[in-house]
Symmetry: C2
Subunit: 349 residues, 2 copies
DNA sequence: CAAACTCCTGACAGCGCTGTCAATAATTTG
DNA sequence: CAAATTATTGACAGCGCTGTCAGGAGTTTG
């Protein structure tokens, strides 16, 4: 009786023979197809276990005309200063989790979103590897050219935080706007009413939603929007610093600064501290994203944790259903991470 | 005459027909095999271009019995606080670059190095996907169990910064020890002679080499090694803080602190600053790794930049030759990143 | 000029699996 | 209980490519 000898490859034939069924039935069991009698299934599973059979991916791929490979496509951070590394790692982690649960492997494909020919690049990738599905991260998920290119290949696509959603499309998004308003709740609870906002770059639609959430939050407490307290940043550290400089120069300065992302919040906080002011005693600072940096700052930054991993995880599992189900969207909730950079407002000042 | 219609799959037959050769000859051209007449090669290449033919990976994989997939296996950072995210991203970037140059795709496989069964986990992965090669990052690259498991599958393996190198093995390493001594050069040039060292966890053999480099450096200038200035850390931020505390408590304190990694250096710097001392005016601090954090500290940390991306890039290209060449090692040079946390020693104190 | 090479090319048999479809077994229905 | 329906299984033909090997073209040698 043949046992799994190291190096020996166990094929579906071996399993079929051992279980006294046809290879097709083994295939059914492996692929979790319906219409297999329970007793047969068990028999086959037992044979699989005892032989330690593992289906050969390449063969499955060729025969089934798709690769069981999920592509995770995101903007290449090589151009950035790598602040997004943590973000990418978390995306990968979530996607990997779902891939393992299904029968998939993960192919990562960073690409430079400023390049013209991403469309054809992705088409090549898809043709060559026969990707079974694609998860597209922002800002690529908001680029019509890219989305169209993928659609033209008929490859199932799930977009992450798409700006405008089209009908009949798969997507996963977060409640940016809502949770952004929750940050205002938090600040108001601490006694703040003079809350400034540093806007981000609008290319990322999601970042725009954060501003709307800020407005929602203020409205909820009948706080009047003060335009001088709303500064435009560009998502980068420096622009946060600059915005803080402008805010502190005002005759009436805010007691709290909420930035549309952590980098800008960090920049703002640095400026505030350098001016000899204390955070949070003199001014509270809050960000959005919960990047690694936010926990390394002193004081640690209050921010909003994006459930990035859960988003990609969900996206991949949607992909698994995509052949059988109608397109649908999904919202994964973000949550506040309250740390030391926000504190009670000192009205006594 | 058939043109590339979107969605239409172009097979090797189409190309063969167009170029008036057999499919085997097309295959030869695609795979860059020798023994094809130049004129034939050009004819085929022209046909490939005009039809935009792309070989089907799955079919190649099945027929050739290997996957053209390179596995990048590293320790799962999910357990860590993600400081290593930048490191992982850079590994991926380098590997991807080489993969694209060759005809490969990259499969990432983070795994938890503390788990018992990584060996069988990797064997499964290899059998299922028929990985053509593996790049193994530290600390996994130093675990005999893991290395043995991979060897047992006869899959080409390149280890990154392996501790002990075995004969007849592929590896890529950096000159940690040497460059570590260069950091001493740098500090001595600034006038320092009282240089403390914070050792790291010895599991990472490479980290041990950094300590040796420190000793080499001191020896070079006939500086006597002072044991009280050598503290043991565990690679984490806190242990750096603790070490600095011990160092500052000494009657004769060092004028510079060199830590075996950036996290510990950052911890040390935080403690120094909190004591009201200035960096670098009162004490210089240097690290090793050039993690993202090091550029976000204030002052920015002088450190050593590991050419991580180039290491993996090289590793993948070694893999490509591995079938034809004898195993060999390779050393990629690291370099100093001198920033604001190191400065002239003030002997006048 | 035949013999002995080397270089180039093509025919053909799979690689290990899945899709299709037909056959058979089990179950329900009138 | 026969007929109709549904559930379960297997035979077989590829999926699109590469490895093997044999044969033809081109070159060199004695």
């Amino acid at each position: 009786m043949r046992q799994s000898q190291p190096g020996q490859k166990v094929t579906i034939f071996d399993v079929a023979e051992r279980a006294q069924v046809s290879i097709k039935t083994v295939s059914r069991v492996v692929n979790r197809e319906p219409n297999v009698r329970d007793s047969t299934r068990e028999k086959v599973e037992k044979a699989i276990r005892s032989l330690r059979y593992q289906p050969d991916q390449s063969a499955r791929n060729l025969a089934s005309q798709h690769s069981h490979l999920i592509g995770l496509v995101y903007d290449d951070p090589e151009r950035y200063a790598l602040p997004s590394a943590g973000f990418i790692i978390r995306m990968q982690q979530g996607a990997l989790r779902a891939c393992r649960a299904g029968l998939h492997e993960l192919l990562i494909h960073p690409c430079d979103f400023s390049k013209r020919n991403i469309g054809s690049e992705l088409r090549s990738l898809i043709r060559a590897t026969r990707l079974s599905g694609i998860v597209l991260a922002p800002p690529l998920s908001n680029m019509p050219r890219v989305v169209r290119a993928i659609h033209s290949t008929n490859t199932p696509l799930v977009r992450l935080s798409p700006g405008r959603r089209l009908a009949q499309e798969w997507y996963v998004e977060t409640n940016d706007r809502e949770v952004s308003a929750q940050m205002i709740d938090h600040l108001v609870e601490l006694g703040h009413r003079d809350i400034a906002f540093i806007k981000g770059n609008e290319t990322h639609k999601a970042v725009g939603n954060r501003y709307l959430g800020y407005l929602d939050g203020l409205a909820r407490y009948d706080i009047k929007v003060k335009n001088s307290w709303i500064r435009q940043g560009d998502n980068a550290f420096n622009s946060g610093e600059q915005a803080a400089k402008e805010l502190l120069a005002l005759s009436k300065r805010p007691s709290a600064i909420f930035a549309a992302n952590d980098d800008m919040a960090a920049g703002a906080m640095r400026y505030v501290l350098r001016q000899g002011l204390r955070v949070p005693q003199d001014i509270s600072v809050a960000g959005f994203d919960d990047v690694t940096l936010s926990r390394q700052l002193d004081p640690r930054l209050t921010t909003i944790r994006q459930p990035v991993a859960r988003m990609t995880e969900h996206a991949v599992s949607l992909l698994a259903q995509s052949t059988t189900t109608e397109p649908q969207g999904h919202c994964v909730a973000a949550s506040l991470a309250i740390r030391e950079s926000t504190g009670p407002a000192l009205h006594s000042r």
